[in-house]
Symmetry: C2
Subunit: 629 residues, 2 copies
Amino acid sequence: MKTSIATVSLSGMLPSKLTAIASAGFDGFELFENDLLYFDGAPKTVRSMATDLGLAIYLYQPFRDFEGVSPAQLDQNLERARRKFDVMHALGVDTMLVCSNVSSNVIRDDRLAIDQLGALAELARQAGVVIAYEALAWGAHVNSYRHAWQYVKAVNSPHLGLGLDSFHTLSIGDDLTELASIPGEKLAFLQVADAPLRKMDVLEWSRHYRCFPGQGDLDVTRFVATALAAGYRGPLSLEIFNDGFRAAPADSTAKDGIRSLRSLESQVRDVLVDDKAARGLDTLTSLPPAPAAIDLQFLEFAVDANARVTLTTWLEKLGFLRMGRHRSKDVTLFQHGRASIILNAEPDSFASAFFMHHGVSLCASAFRVPSANDTVTRASQVGYARFEGRVGPNERNVPAVLAPDQSLFYLVDELPNAPTLFESDFHLTDIDGPTQTGPITAVDHVALSVPGGSLERWALFFRSVFGFQAEHSVVLHDPYGQIQSQAIRSHDGSVRIVLNASVDPRTIHSETISAYKGSGLNHVAFRTDDITLAVRRLEGDGVPILRIPQSYYNDIAARFGLNEAFVDTLRKHNILYDRDASGGEFLHAYTAQVDHRFFFELVERRGGYDGYGAPNASVRLAAQSALRS
Amino acid sequence: MKTSIATVSLSGMLPSKLTAIASAGFDGFELFENDLLYFDGAPKTVRSMATDLGLAIYLYQPFRDFEGVSPAQLDQNLERARRKFDVMHALGVDTMLVCSNVSSNVIRDDRLAIDQLGALAELARQAGVVIAYEALAWGAHVNSYRHAWQYVKAVNSPHLGLGLDSFHTLSIGDDLTELASIPGEKLAFLQVADAPLRKMDVLEWSRHYRCFPGQGDLDVTRFVATALAAGYRGPLSLEIFNDGFRAAPADSTAKDGIRSLRSLESQVRDVLVDDKAARGLDTLTSLPPAPAAIDLQFLEFAVDANARVTLTTWLEKLGFLRMGRHRSKDVTLFQHGRASIILNAEPDSFASAFFMHHGVSLCASAFRVPSANDTVTRASQVGYARFEGRVGPNERNVPAVLAPDQSLFYLVDELPNAPTLFESDFHLTDIDGPTQTGPITAVDHVALSVPGGSLERWALFFRSVFGFQAEHSVVLHDPYGQIQSQAIRSHDGSVRIVLNASVDPRTIHSETISAYKGSGLNHVAFRTDDITLAVRRLEGDGVPILRIPQSYYNDIAARFGLNEAFVDTLRKHNILYDRDASGGEFLHAYTAQVDHRFFFELVERRGGYDGYGAPNASVRLAAQSALRS
């Protein structure tokens, strides 16, 4: 499909918006009236700017409060429309969006509205343009696509079609059945926007919280698939009102926009294929599939000589064994159970550059996938750059993708019987030595601190490249502010990432990313089958465990009705506790912070508990705060 | 009244919260359960901390979802209450807040709930404590104080009283008539919170947008007056959930809290006096009245030698005359109509310190009031520090108050027949010379850029010290983000201040305060009786006027149906236009920026227009952006 974005979705002045839209790779755009108003030049100048950038102007928008008015007002409105048609001719755009009337004075008479839209269609016919009539979710009389469609059908003019907007339909939970039956040629325009579910006034929700498809909770895929199956053949156009986008640089927002559309198209394609719907398939981008299975292979830290000593000590106390040394680089491999951690101190490397910028930090993660090439190709077709690192003799060239914070995600596939990455690239010194058992079995999840307002950017990355799922975001309370937290996971939970962002820039806490000059690791959670044993062993080995306030234990004892001996054990080892509705239990403990940056967590999941102990986040954050003050 | 604040209103850990509460001057506090939970010490330690700081613990809160439950659940809830009573004994607190049940499983049976609350009251009697039962606005069955009062009345125990919270009652627009008739001894606790009006879910509104009384739109004064007239004699306690407060330093939030309560008490006193209600009066703080009349006397800029030259040139081009020189300081007075501007270049002064910090900036404003002493006394009793400047021989000692950004507000009163401030402190060189006429008649309003999240702090300052009124805040769109804007004015509109704050810290625009390292002047608007004449004269004198995009004029022509000649005049002089519902008109134009910092505006008000041309803010911001890019 042709890709488009409304200029209102981006920050800045019109010329820089258009440059950003062209650079990101869109085919065209919707011109928002105010952008023209604030541009100190004639419409024909905008037209030639667009032409020079290779961009089509698909839509001029919006025209408001047209129908359901008095005869005198109708005359004024038609005159207003005439003037706008002149502007459209100068711009070289042939479609205008007309939103359903939101005025409290609207006359609630369908016959009248249809007649008036008929008059507008006639005017549009004379001017050689098309009207896309769209129901706003807060329209005073018309607020569903079904009601708008009644009007369009009744007017029955090739110059009046239906404008669709996924937000306006999905936000009110409207049914898509009728949409499937609307003739494709009557669908004049298709705008798409996602949004996180919020309990609030729909107008406020729309104006401030929209986001790109794949960043929110609405089923935009099903909506677009339905429109395509009905025969819609126009552009797919993003129209996003978002407080964060308004303040973010237009370039990076536009790039995320095109990523969102490519990923959306590919999902729509999957839905149409599943539905055995042939119509629309040919217009859709196809991407290599997201990996069917995925695992965390290793986490790689950028260190210098000092930080290597510090982290090595930590890892050894955590029971990790030094398993190998890289054949050609200053890179060391540690393992414990299925958890692998690499310390990279190679000078003049990606890691050393990362270290210089961020200090000791997580510079790369590696995912094991069925086809590394497929996943990297998918990433680059979605719009995430491939990274090509320096490769030594006898080393494998591991494909990698650059994440939003410019850290790397390596993709590793290992053929049966072929040497593993570790075997080919490392001298595995201890491979035949004793392999320890427990207490750690694997990495349970990785928590990243990301800048405020960038949760959506990260969610799009993981969802579009790896096909991960996002849970609803939750707000955690730190003593010095709020943290928005969103968990992202692979379908089967084999890889779990938690994204944390400060809501207020003044909030200084352990989730703060300022020290990282960008994103950074917050903590790595290791899984264990016996947390009491694990904490006891770690404490014995000198790992400092975060002390939990004693009142916490009185509270959980009362809250969950726990027996005293059990609570005593938890209290003694500073283990936190949570239980879900179906009785699944989560036991977890935290280490002190490493280098005032990140920390480790031990988690034991019992009986199918699937969360991250969010109710305990506040007590953990408070305990960490107490240490700092 | 005794003053109190809930610990949940402040950021940080419990010990620093208590220090902030004590320093601000509160008599006591409500202890929020989580603050105790996160404190790594026993309840008795909290008790002695409070005692050492001279603070009473007035309330332990909250206890949730008690009533309307099954018999088995009731037993558990009573057991939970028993444990909390033990904690209360250790804390030395005798009142516990119980909120109305919000669970969707609540049994909607008033008789059952009353019986269960009766059982709780009996337990409270045995423990020697009191329950304050409070209706939450989103309570599942009980959501009004009237419903809660039915329960309390029916139980009829001295150990069960009604807990009141202004937000829960005012947010749902509930009637206060019944409150007036509740016996005072049945009112167990009184929490106060204000909030700006918002169209949103009441729970979300309450959790994130509450603010101190005098910072929002609710009639907290009337609510408290009603409770006092009914005979309430307990403490007045702030309970604020606010995203900004959660991230702001506890000290300054606590200080604003006590200012809010003192001002509230004084307003409540006025209401009771007006109502001729004697009950409650004796418990209330009395402040000197806010000034009955107020005028802007002068604006004072901190400058160095260079900036003096720059600003002098600007002022002269704007038609200001140099009217005098200060008798002992390097301070110059300019006047035009009733607008007076002072340039202060005195070394080693308040102004020079301000200049060092902020560069060329507005360091002081002066208000003419009936009694400067009354107003300064009022300010200091509310909690704003008085500033004492250096005074030269034969100079008047002008009392001043420190504003939230540490700039000064001078208070000037001039007795009839006594020399004016300008006469006593200045050599008025040109006083007998020609006084120019027009185009500027006075200062219309002053717009200040304040840091994001500090609108409430500033609103409280102007409202509590000067008795100003606040209008609803509006959101203005800059090309690079949103600006929250709130107008504050004296009762008769003689003094008008507009406060602007960036919503997103990334937003870089003319409202940005970063360059000021604090708050700063955004612009000064001068009033004129003939804006076309004024702009023409200023342009003739070389004042650069902000160019407005031409499409703007096509738009207003269509939008307001203006005649062509009129629009041509506006266009020619880059004058913006707005019209209110009753036909009042606002014509205004802007100068270029002075030193990339602030700018001037010319405004003409016709036919009682009372706003600030907010619909034109976006085009002005865009035009300024275009100049920078």
